[in-house]
Amino acid sequence: MTDTEAKGWFAAADRDDEAELVAAVRDGDASEPRDWPRLAIEAGFVDDEAEYYDALHEVTTAATSAVVTERERADDRQLVHAVRAMDDCRRTANELAERLAEWAGTIDEDAETGVEYARDLAGRTPDPGEERVVSLAARVAALADEAEDLEAFVERETPSIAPNLAALAGPTLAARLISLSGGLEKLAKQPSGTIQVLGAEDALFAHLRGQAPSPKHGIIYTHEAVRGTRPEDRGSAARALAGKLAIAARIDHYSGDYRPELEAELADRIETIQARASDDGGEDGE
């Protein structure tokens, strides 16, 4: 044994300094376990074993509760707000960019619609009389920047909140699905048929009113598994994807375990569906 012997959680503070003790349980470590109850008594931290375990119960419960609350606060609600704000910023930036293009057309014959043009214009030193339009361009560029920062935040946070959904759908689509259903718990309780058409509510209601065919896919359309499949098989691909996403959402919500096998299973399934195209191609050249 070395002279730097491992220290127990109780070495950090006196018995009545709960905050320090909680921090020690949360963030401390030791190279090896030792007979902590005996050592705590020898160190005068407590008088006997019963008192030691009472203190341990109190402090481990408080520490676990603090971390759980912290993680819950940091989790899916934050994601829902971030992804909605990202979409709002992007949509607003595009709308304003159109307004800007109309206005800028009166002072600049090369005016274009779009955020890129707004960025160019924002970088210019305004001639007299152009201050307002250049200032508006700067707002458009700033909103577009904010949307990008929000997307980076979503990409960073989603994998720790919903590891399986993020792996299957990509972080941004995963966050959108969570947002559309109102949270990870709600998404975890959706049947896969609902997940398949999330984001296609308008089309779905039109269908229910008898005015349109039933939608085959909602926002999951943006997933490579659906988009990369030929149109007549997209319904099957969307169904397969939605099924796996439903499982992923449940695992993320109820256990938080990351299951790499889900990705492999989805890839397998999609490969089979996409292979129909080449089979048909071989037979009748369709």
Partner: protein, 213 residues
């Protein structure tokens, strides 16, 4: 006198709801049927419950110091804390740990720890040495490694009670092959005393009783 498959003191087979069932004494946790202070321990919801029900010799007498890895929302660990002594419950996911806290509240010798069982150094300053039994049900890849890394907590004559889930190691392989590999890896640090498939209650799970070598 103790015979091989004796249940630990504090665990009994009792008639509850017209059926003989394993039971412990404590606050109900998951809507299980009760009879007075006894509450049924459902082997279909608990791998350790299945191991006891299938009469594996887990070597527990009651009152032991236990390190439980993969406590989830506390279904099984609640029963363990009912009959064992000081019980350390390690779980790394926040959501089930919220429920684990309610299980721990009325059980003064149950200590919840939100930690990763693959990183024992992050709780070795809390969990004591000389533990009598490690109960492990983590259901993630690398189950043998988790058991080996936590061996340092175990007393020389302590027991490892391990539930291995084949699909967590590899979904595509035959469970029997997976179990053989896990067992071989485990033997780096443990002597395997008994193994039994738990399929009656948990498909493609193996129960293992081992002691450190």
């Amino acid at each position: 006198m103790r015979t091989v498959s004796d249940l630990p003191a504090g665990v009994e087979r009792r008639e509850i709801g017209g059926q003989e069932r394993l039971a412990t004494r404590g606050e109900p946790v998951y809507g299980e049927p009760t009879d007075g202070e006894w509450r049924a321990w459902d082997p279909t919801r608990s791998k350790l419950g299945a191991m006891l029900d299938l009469e594996m010799d887990v070597g527990l007498e009651g009152g032991e110091t236990v390190l439980y890895l993969g406590a989830a929302s506390g279904t099984t660990v609640s029963h363990v804390a009912d009959f064992a002594g000081p019980t350390y419950a390690v779980e790394f996911a926040a959501r089930p740990a919220r429920d684990l806290l309610s299980v721990a509240e009325p059980r003064p010798r149950l200590f919840p720890l939100l930690k990763d069982a693959r990183k024992p150094a992050t709780y070795a300053h809390v969990v004591e040495s000389g533990i009598d039994a490690i109960v492990q049900d983590v259901a993630t890849r690398g189950q043998a490694r988790v058991a080996l890394e936590n061996r340092q907590f175990l007393a020389d004559d302590g027991r490892l009670l391990l539930a291995v889930k084949a699909r967590s190691e590899d979904v595509t392989r035959d469970p029997g092959d997976v179990f053989a590999d896990v067992r071989a890896e485990l033997e780096d640090g443990y002597e395997v005393l008994e193994t039994r498939r738990l399929d009656e209650y948990h498909v493609d799970h193996l129960g293992i009783v081992a002691r450190p070598r």
